[in-house]
Symmetry: C2
Subunit: 116 residues, 2 copies
């Protein structure tokens, strides 16, 4: 998959609260599908579908343990989107906020001056 498509798939997968909850659970360790499904007010096939979405997005991988298919969290794709967001980080970090504040001050001064 091309990197842009990876971002599409990753973001789309993360847009669903059930899937984010699944990831949160998997961050604590491998779990089977049934175990994953239990806390949700949703059928098992629905959970299986969510898992397929997560897997195709590369956010989880699956093992084999008898008839169980334990799911494991895979951090690579989260790292990728963390890096994507990183290119915007300066917008909310200290150094930028200082510039922002400075610009705000300028604006306020202008208005004050114009009002005179």
């Amino acid at each position: 998959m091309k990197p842009a498509n990876r971002l599409n798939a990753t973001f789309a997968a993360l847009a669903d609260p059930t899937r984010r909850a699944i990831l949160a659970r998997l961050a604590l360790g491998e779990v089977s599908v049934m175990e994953l499904a239990r806390p949700f007010a949703m059928s098992q096939p629905a959970i299986s579908k969510h898992l397929k979405v997560l897997e195709r997005a590369g956010l989880i991988s699956r093992g084999r343990d008898a008839q169980r298919r334990p799911c494991r969290f895979e951090p690579r794709r989260l790292k990728e989107i963390a890096e994507w967001i990183g290119t915007y980080r300066h917008f909310w970090e200290e150094s930028f906020n200082r510039l922002d504040q400075y610009l705000e001050e300028l604006k306020t001064k202008e208005k004050t001056r114009d009002a005179k």
Copy 2:
């Protein structure tokens, strides 16, 4: 909007490459809709729809300049998802990688032993 719904809307908005490209453009400064639309092989109403999605997600805001509605990038929501991802950061950072490597080594040793 509740925080969970905000995450839904933000991730969904970012899942589209056109919208990510719009954000990238807006990170360089305010732009009007027509200017934004130009580089895309897409009608103006399509761009307006994307902007509405971005606006409802809180990723942009819009001003007024005569008949123009200049769009401005709003970093808050990106910051929020950066924080959400932050809770998983330890999975790909140095300290974790060392543990991961150690576990990989253990596995390899097991296999080697079993093969004997």
